[in-house]
């Protein structure tokens, strides 16, 4: 780990502004950390070494001449999940089908990061098209958990979480469709936020399940995550589902008192299936909330048991349609094995997509088919409404919900790969926030005996990111989790 490795972004900015460290120095140090450890961690699919250094040098010149715009993230190198498009920089979604795809435009979040002065370090590995919970579904390689290289970093934003945890980047963007930011954040001991659906523009996020997808930040601390969210949040004329609602000042509200807040603890989230060490760690953390002056209240989320089934109908249905564009006609992989149009489509997609993606395309196609649509898709949409009602009811009584992020500790690479259903259960505590559209955040609340991170999840009502970050920050300070030494 280098000197800047786990330094808060705010502090890095101060170093730059006071010119105690140059942008080039800082960028160089993250690049050398990547060079030093990424052959083991494998968090990055693409490292933009030269362009990053060129941009750093440009910013240094501007600082020296006093022309610096002093943006929110001026001089901060960041990693971006490889399903978010970057102009001129290969964007693969960890899929063979887009192996050499170079987008001609930037996602809205990428332009916003660039406008705020951030530097693109590289693109991070993920499960193919963000489908998975371990990053093992990447068509290129599996990413390792920095806390134990034999274990998965979680997924699908495993590359982003691992890069931040290993000090390869001070912050990163991921995307969360069913837990894909929060679960790897928990597995890697980092903070991850899935904002309210519509808080961050999806323009340029390669769609997996459009009604569930949301881009969000991964960082070492709640305040880093707040800073990153500040830079990317807000309405976007190019995304009709982005919210017009003004963006709050997340940083200025982060230190507010949390006394008197009512915290709901859903009883369904602490049933069988939850790892004993995680439960213990959570109970201790929840106690600390009481210490902060919050009151605890048991609440019920009766639809929880249907969440996974609902999610695994709606998400694949949308995915089966979203992934139809990869047909070999205009861009991406095109099979050489073709006799006619149909065989071109079939071979291209058979060769280009991995097993999990194909599985979900088939499930999605099935649930949308004539004769099955009502029984599956419509039914699932109705359950989704009930689930949303669970939240509306709960948030009448409490300000936040607190529970686990994951049912288990980071598992071994290959351990769950053979049984997709078991893998799907990894999302049990996270998918509900996506189905309802509310924000959820995972923060480290302790380490297991084996030295593996444990995540705690806080969920909040729609567009309550400022208060959510405020509570998470207070709890983070109160917990002051002692981190073991990173083995790499």
């Amino acid at each position: 780990m280098t000197e800047f490795g786990q330094m808060p972004i705010k502090q890095l900015r101060e170093l730059i502004q006071r010119r105690d460290a140059s942008v080039t120095e800082i960028t160089q140090s993250f690049l050398s950390r990547i060079r030093q450890c990424d052959d083991k961690i494998k968090a990055f699919l693409t490292v933009e070494e030269e362009p990053a250094l060129a941009q750093a040098a440009r910013l240094d010149r501007q600082l020296a001449s006093g022309e610096s715009k002093n943006g929110l993230l001026s001089g901060i190198p960041l990693a971006i999940k490889d399903n978010i498009v970057t102009q001129g920089v290969r964007t693969t979604c960890a899929s063979r089908i887009l192996e050499n795809y170079i987008p001609p435009y930037d996602a809205t979040v990428v332009s916003r990061l660039k406008e705020s002065g951030a530097i693109l370090l590289g693109k991070t590995n993920c499960d193919e098209f963000a489908m998975g919970s371990s990053t093992e579904n990447s068509a290129f390689f599996a990413t390792r958990n920095p806390w134990d290289l034999e274990r998965v970093p979680g997924g699908s934003s495993g590359g982003s979480a691992a890069a931040v945890a290993a000090g390869e980047a001070p912050g990163a963007l991921g995307s969360d469709t069913g837990g894909s930011i929060r679960q790897p954040a928990a597995f890697c001991g980092t903070v991850g936020l899935k904002p309210t659906y519509g808080r961050v523009s999806r323009y340029g996020l390669v769609a997996f399940a459009s009604s569930l997808d949301q881009i969000g930040p991964v960082g070492n601390s709640v305040s880093d995550v707040a800073l990153l969210l500040q830079a990317i949040a807000g309405s976007d004329p190019q995304d009709s589902t982005s919210a017009a609602r003004p963006v709050e000042d997340y940083l200025s509200e982060i230190d507010q008192e949390v006394k008197g807040l009512k915290i709901g603890v859903p009883k369904e989230w602490f049933g069988s299936g939850l790892d004993g060490q995680i439960e213990q760690s959570l109970q201790a953390a929840i106690k600390k909330l009481e210490g902060l002056g919050c009151s605890l209240l048991e609440v019920s989320m009766p639809q929880t048991e249907y969440a996974i089934s609902t999610y695994y109908i709606i998400a694949p249905a949308e995915a089966s349609s979203n992934l139809a564009r990869y047909d070999g006609v205009r861009y991406g992989h095109r099979s050489a094995d073709q006799k006619d149009l149909d065989s071109m489509f079939k071979s291209t997609r058979s060769e280009g997509f991995g097993e999990e993606v194909k599985r979900r395309i088939m499930i999605g196609t099935y649930v949308l088919s004539a004769g099955y649509y009502d029984a599956y898709f419509i039914k699932a949409s109705k359950v989704r409404t009930l689930l949303r009602n669970d939240y509306l009811e709960a948030f009448k009584k409490v300000d936040f919900l607190v529970g686990p992020t994951t049912p288990s500790l980071p598992f071994k690479i290959g351990e769950k790969k053979k049984d997709p259903l078991e893998m799907y259960l990894m999302d049990v505590y996270t998918v509900t926030a996506n189905l309802a559209g509310i924000p959820g955040l995972s923060l480290p609340c302790g380490f297991s005996q084996e030295g593996l991170p444990i995540g705690l999840q806080i969920q909040a009502p729609y567009f309550q990111e400022a208060r959510l970050l405020n509570l998470a920050h207070a709890l983070e300070q109160e917990l002051n989790v002692k981190r073991p030494k990173l083995p790499i």
């Binding site: 987008p103 323009y203 004329p237 009709s240 589902t241 349609s321 047909d327 205009r330 196609t365 949308l368």
Partner: protein
């Protein structure tokens, strides 16, 4: 057994918006291939659609003009299928909750079946199932026996789909409905109605059943109906084909057929087994389309008098036949030209004849639309008045029309400039007539000997002397008088 035909039509009309339905690209026709494109209409990974409000406004107008109920909240859906001209692998369309539904129109439709030889008209009401918004696909260009190319300029051009109830009982009714629909969209100025270029496209569903039966027979869908003529021929062919199939104890197969203009028949394109399952589901990238009461009122106020209404008014107000009124109301500009002319000089029939004859002829020859021509309706009306008032002869009128068409000047100016007015001065004409008779003594003799046909010769000579300006009636009277009286 007597059969009746049951026909329904599905029409796709391109809307005349400046930009595409879900992005800012131009809808302009004829640009180099793939130049009017962006990440959104190319369906690049990560791109998202944003709805063009102007397209909604146009679609709502169409819905209102067709008597539809406008849904205050309508939703977009994805229609999923693979084809190289469809970049996203799905078309954004509407399925449940279209923009407009349950409409109807009442039109006069021809009773006799042959097009152009309609004797009688009777009012008929046809139901409109739905009017919805969707995006157009691109175009494939096939190189004979070699590669195929994709042009995505047309991808994302807004379309409305207008689905009728199966209410037509003859090809003539379908023809009249389609013609009215086309005229309506032209009047609303939301579609250019060009069937050949594909901005106005029609598919037909056809079945037959025993006369008197209320059950529907198995239908076939017919595509590739690129003109009104094709539609009528294809329907007539298909109705006969189905009658023969059933008459021969066969069964009509549910299938999609193509009209083959060369072979003058319909051919199987795909069978029921090959039919697509489009797996429609709500488009998650777009919000429901909200059409407020105020917006509807605002759009209603912009709807002009519609062609069928105008046609019936023309029949009453100007004592025209249904066919004449139909011709005049084909386009809004044509009808307005007529009315402006009639307001200037109230001789509807004569103005109609000039419009349908000389004016139409010239416009066709020059490939111009009526609003692009120089001759103003007031001038055409004055031309007719000058003939009626005897200022100019019919022959001079033709000459004058040419000048009006070329220059756009008013007839009086041209007459005085070109010295075109008719010579009706008795003394002047007498002098000319006498001169002609004196110059041709032997012809005068011959006439008096019984060669009456020579009158035309003398007439011609007088016209020659006066450069066609002599009042022909006066000259003819004079000549007859003078030739009859013996020297």
């Amino acid at each position: 057994m007597e059969f009746e035909a049951v026909i329904g039509l599905e029409v796709h009309a391109q809307l005349l918006t400046q930009s595409k339905i879900f992005c800012a690209c131009s809808t302009g026709f004829g640009a180099p291939p793939n130049s009017n494109t962006c990440p959104v209409c190319l369906g690049l990974p990560g791109s998202l659609p944003v709805l063009n409000r102007e397209a909604v406004a146009m679609a709502v107008k169409a819905g209102l003009a067709l008597g539809c109920q406008i849904n205050r909240n309508s939703i977009f859906a994805r229609k999923n299928y693979f084809y190289p001209d469809l970049p996203k692998g799905y078309q954004i369309s509407q399925y449940d909750l279209p923009l407009g539904q349950d409409g109807q129109i009442e039109i006069l439709t021809g009773v006799r079946q042959e097009a152009g030889h309609v004797g009688e008209y009777q009012p008929r009401t046809f139901g409109i199932t739905r009017v919805h918004l969707e995006e157009d696909a691109g175009k494939l260009i096939h190189q004979q026996g070699r590669d195929s190319y994709v042009d995505l300029n047309r991808t994302g051009v807004p379309l409305i789909e207008i689905v009728s109830e199966p209410d037509f009982r003859s090809s003539q009714e379908a023809y009249d409905y389609l013609n009215n629909l086309r005229r309506t969209l032209l009047y609303l100025e939301i579609c250019d109605g060009n069937m050949e270029e594909g901005s106005f496209r029609c598919d037909a569903n056809v079945s037959i059943r025993p006369l008197g039966s209320s059950e529907l027979g198995t239908k076939t869908e017919i595509k590739n109906l690129n003109s009104f003529r094709f539609l009528q021929r294809a329907l007539e062919y298909e109705i006969e084909r189905q009658k023969e199939v059933i008459g021969g104890d066969g069964q009509v197969e549910q299938e999609t057929r193509l009209w083959d203009e060369e072979g003058q028949k319909t051919l199987v394109m795909r069978s029921k087994e090959e039919a697509h399952d489009y797996r429609y589901f709500p488009e998650p990238d777009l919000l429901p389309v909200v059409v407020s009461e105020e917006w509807i009122e605002e759009l209603k106020a912009q709807i002009p008098e519609l062609p069928e209404e105008r046609r019936q008014r023309f029949v009453k107000e100007y004592a025209l036949t249904h066919e004449e009124a139909l011709l005049l109301t084909q386009t809004r500009q044509f009808a307005e030209y007529f009315e402006t002319a009639v307001r200037t000089y109230n001789q509807p029939k004569a103005i109609l004849n000039w419009m349908m004859g000389d004016l139409m002829g010239h416009l066709k020859q020059d490939h111009r639309e009526i609003h692009e021509c120089l001759i103003r309706p007031e001038h055409l009306a004055n031309l007719v008045r000058l003939i009626d008032e005897g200022e100019i002869s019919g022959k001079m009128a033709k000459q004058l029309f040419e000048k009006l068409y070329e220059t756009g000047d008013d007839p009086e100016t041209i007459i005085s400039q070109e010295n075109l007015q008719q010579i009706s001065d008795e003394d002047q004409l007498t002098r000319i007539v006498d001169r002609v008779l004196e110059a041709n003594p032997e012809k005068v003799e011959a006439y008096r000997a019984g060669k009456a046909g020579l009158l035309g010769f003398f007439m011609g000579q007088v016209m020659k002397e006066t450069r066609g300006q002599a009042n022909p009636e006066m000259v003819s009277q004079m000549l007859e008088g003078k030739l009859r009286s013996s020297p």
